[in-house]
Amino acid sequence: MEELIRRFNKAGVRYLLIGGQAVRLEGVPRFSMDWDFYIPPHDEKNTALINSLMGKEADIPLEILGRKGEGFIQTYSTTWGIVQFHLGGPGIPPFAEAEARAIMLKTETGLQVRAMCLDDLIRAKEAAGRPQDLTDAAYLREKKSVHKKPQR
């Protein structure tokens, strides 16, 4: 997946890593089989850029969000792994707001990945509400509380 992220970074794609991989890169010891990227739902230029960078891996082109919210998650099976593009969702703030608060995380190889900030990630996980999401949120809250404690 790092190849795709490198392409995104180089081309200036607007994206934020969310979901299980963002949780993992925050330091939570967990596995996820897919990579979730939040993208601006109505940015046609950005969507076209992603399609061009995905190349043949996008068997059917990525599309902007439908008028009635259709296609708010679009999933691809690629040689890099399973990629899910999220164009919104419960507990997820508008893209521009989340983008303004974005942080940079590092993969285990040191690759920089733009990601949703800790507070937004916690809110999204709590809104999703599956048992795994709530476990993730609890970990992330613990991390936040540890970082808030004054150093001795």
Partner: protein, 64 residues
Amino acid sequence: MKITDNRDAKRRLSLLNPGPAALPEATGWPRFAKKTFNSYAEMNNWKADLIREIMRRGGVRWKS
């Protein structure tokens, strides 16, 4: 002291050693055409089906 199945303890222990856990690589993932979902429920159902399909095929094979 060994701590068994204590989620709070696991959280505390993991926070003592922060940093991304290495993602294990595996082969044997099924390929599929693009999927589009209109709700989390749809996606979650599909994901559960995908995992069942992977297991019917004998699971993924982890690279060492």
